[in-house]
Symmetry: C2
Subunit: 205 residues, 2 copies
């Protein structure tokens, strides 16, 4: 975290023979990160995987980073203590930054409840290609969905420090996109995000 250490993205631009502009021109898209944040059950993974499918069907490189592929691999050494949670999000931010450098439309689906952690990710990735996607699906809807049965366990005290029940969620103050998956169907939500990607000129088609 020392300020003196140069950011990875600066070094990449020096070392690589491939500029971001060349990459964009040859690959037909520019790398970015849509950072989904919201309660467990708010629809982050569902929406991210549906968007990934839509983008790949349209011949775009897109990839979802979520608990399934990160927690059991890269971050298998981390637990759920406060410092481990912060390290979890720090690494995800760094990996998402590498994916964005590579030109991939990167979709991260983690609760990421703390503003400071999300802010760090924004700084690592760069504001120009980082978009905070806030899923405002109400807590009571998320708890009713309870796709993994986690709210039930949290209410029963079997899981400690569960976001929304026994641990805080700090809502984004100035999110780039706001989506309520309880008020809109999946197709509408995906279309909203594709419109955002077009507006940002991440994709042009």
């Amino acid at each position: 975290m020392t300020k003196q250490i140069p950011k990875a993205s600066n070094i990449v631009n020096h070392a690589s023979l491939v500029s971001a502009e060349l990459r964009q021109r040859k690959l037909g898209q520019s790398g970015c990160v849509l950072w989904f944040t919201g309660y467990s059950g708010s629809g982050k993974s569902t929406l991210a995987t549906a968007l990934e499918k839509a983008l790949i069907d349209d011949h775009h490189f897109a990839y979802v980073l979520d608990g399934d592929n990160v927690r059991h691999g890269l971050n298998r050494d981390l637990g759920f203590a406060a410092e481990d949670r912060t390290e979890n999000i720090r690494r995800i931010g760094e990996v998402a930054n590498l994916f964005a450098d590579a030109g991939v439309i990167t979709l991260t689906a983690f609760i990421s409840p703390y503003r400071a952690d999300r802010q760090l990710a924004r700084e690592v990735i760069g504001s120009d290609r980082f978009r905070e996607v806030y899923l405002t699906t109400p807590l009571e809807v998320c708890e009713e969905r309870d796709p993994k049965g986690l709210y039930k366990k949290a209410r029963a005290g079997e899981i400690g420090e569960f976001t929304g029940i026994s641990a805080p969620y700090e809502p984004p103050l100035d999110p780039d996109v706001i989506i309520d998956t309880s008020a809109n169907d999946l197709t509408t939500c995906v279309a909203q995000l594709i419109a955002q990607l077009r507006q940002d000129q991440v994709i042009t088609a």
Copy 2:
């Protein structure tokens, strides 16, 4: 490292709406990892960045992971003690696996001197899409090149445990590709790797 924990790649296939086959068909390439290994100065980064440029010029998604973009970002918390070196390579293997999942032709350029570490990377990534590229450039040539002045410092005792000087290098026993950058020019080496990618049907054009 526990065996009971399922591999990330298995879970991805479950959770994602995008099969590896669909990804390959829509994106015109399949994800893989070319894992470069060899002494400092053997030409790993030079060759990897030249191959990356050639692939992107040909509209393929390729990306180099090397010390410049990983050591100062994701792995900035790691030093050079034995366990930190192993953790460094473990994380790189996991990140390369995510990139390969995403369909990217992933080029990793790290000395990675230990067989056990490279074997772990192969297991995480899967033998079908992992290729060990062994740069056999002789140590005396690497030391003469000394692009970062590190050999000079190692000989002067200013750097401890330097591969080839004061720390061992364990050569691959059965590498997929062998390249000596002191015996062939860069264009020839790049062509050799592109031929390998075609043979593996990673790219078809």
